[in-house]
């Protein structure tokens, strides 16, 4: 079965076939949710943000440049919305929410190992500019090329900043979590 490309779906939505938008949601909800979840560290906020991102995307479908990759446009919209959300949110609340969620994760969800929980906590401790690159690389599986396009940062800088982020993670995991 041949998969219809994003721009053909968008064209259908713009012509009045609202239901076709579901295909876009099915395709990208997980990757956008991974972005919002790992960036905010709170599942509830991430769900609200993901919904908001898709609704904003729907409201602005007619502004998409057909020469530009829809996914990059959507992901960039997601990044902007998420960073804006993080800016508005107080750091104290971030910590509280994360801790609350982790307690839940540790107690209720046996799939999450202690190490993975530590990794998520360490990611949350990174500054948003470093956290974003870690999320893009590992949770969204984006290429350096895509990361550069979405963030507007040259590819070389993306690579070096990502390396710095991994070094920071190493320090955090090694000193406070003692898992390395």
């Amino acid at each position: 079965m041949v998969e219809i490309d994003d721009h053909s779906i968008i064209k259908k939505v713009l012509e009045g076939d609202t239901a076709s938008f579901a295909e876009i949601v099915v395709r990208y909800q997980q990757i956008i949710f991974n972005l919002t979840y790992q960036m905010t560290g709170n599942e509830e906020d991430a769900r609200d943000l993901t919904q908001e991102i898709f609704i904003r995307a729907y409201m602005n479908l007619d502004r998409i440049d057909p020469h530009y990759k829809f996914f990059s446009w959507l992901y960039r919209l997601g990044v902007n919305q998420t960073l804006d959300f993080i800016k508005r949110r107080k750091p104290l609340i971030l910590t509280e929410n994360l801790m609350a969620h982790d307690r839940y994760a540790e107690n209720e969800n046996g799939n999450l190992t202690e190490k993975k929980t530590y990794v998520r906590k360490a990611i949350q401790k990174l500054k948003p500019k470093y956290r974003l690159l870690i999320v893009m690389k590992y949770y969204s599986a984006l290429s350096y090329d895509q990361m550069s396009l979405i963030t507007g940062i040259p590819e070389k800088k993306v690579k070096s900043r990502l390396f710095e982020a991994r070094q920071m993670l190493r320090t955090t995991l090694k000193s406070s979590m003692e898992i390395l």
Binding site: T18, Y37, Q51, Y58, R88, N111, I134, Y138, R166, K174
Partner: protein, 256 residues
């Protein structure tokens, strides 16, 4: 060099040189091992991500928004019709001086209408100002006018009614021909959002609430009721912003 090695971007000679260094430098080899472990932990942590499962709520909101593009088309048709009216107006008032005069007269009429509408009314009883925990500049027992906004593309009126037990009801009327975003934001130590709804529940709006903001995506003429709980007994700031196409078009702070 370690980064380039991990990325596989070293030349054969550089790689050989680096591996020689690794063999003798225990610190470097420990660092390399740690970095590989971090990489592995990140990869395995990402593999067990939580499922999104958001198709239904997203599509419900999308359906609620309606066929926005059809509405946009209708608005464009209306604008074309408005253009016809402009041509007629230009025939009646052919010079720029006439247009200025016409604008001035219209402004005076609108101003007088707004002032007369919000002129303080007699108290209707049933509510004591003693119950109010916040005050606005223009006090009125039935509702305090705090903010009329009149932009070319967006008209907004925000009125607040203090209620017993530190609750404040905000009545927000928004009229916009294109999508706009109205944001009310505040300090989390000042207010809490208790409820929000659209009067008449028309499909062309989107209401979102966070712990320190309320966002309303509006199209057309709509009214919203927002119930806030005030957390202090002093006047607190509420910021009102209007965005169009992602750009801030208006911002003002009011004290409640």
């Amino acid at each position: 060099m370690l980064r380039l090695y991990l990325e596989g971007n070293l030349t054969d000679t550089e790689k050989l040189q680096f591996e020689k260094e690794l063999a003798v430098n225990t610190e470097l080899s420990a660092l390399l091992e740690d970095m590989n472990q971090v990489e592995h932990l990140l990869e395995s942590s990402a593999a067990s991500s939580t499922k999104a499962d958001l198709l239904e709520p997203i599509m419900n909101s999308v359906w609620k928004l309606g066929k926005v593009y059809e509405r946009k088309q209708r608005l464009q048709d209306d604008q074309i019709a408005a253009g016809t009216w402009q041509k007629t107006a230009n025939r009646i008032f052919p010079t720029p001086h006439w247009n200025l005069a016409w604008g001035f007269i219209a402004g005076v009429i609108v101003g007088v209408a707004i002032l007369s509408f919000f002129h303080p009314r007699q108290p209707s009883g049933g509510f004591s100002e003693m119950d109010a925990t916040g005050t606005f500049a223009q006090k009125d027992a039935t509702g305090f006018l705090i903010l009329p906004v009149d932009l070319p593309a967006v008209k907004l009126n925000l009125a607040a009614n203090p209620l017993p037990q530190s609750f404040i009801q905000l009545n927000l009327d928004v009229s916009s021909e294109e999508n706009c975003l109205v944001q009310l934001s505040f300090n989390t130590s000042s207010f809490q959002v208790w409820s929000l709804r659209q009067v008449g529940n028309k499909p062309n709006c989107q209401i979102l609430a966070g712990y320190n903001y309320v966002e309303i995506g509006n199209l057309g003429q709509n009214s919203y009721i927002i119930l806030l709980k005030k957390l202090t007994t002093i006047e607190e700031e509420l910021s009102v912003s209007i965005f169009r196409d992602g750009n801030l078009e208006y911002n003002s702070q009011v004290k409640i």
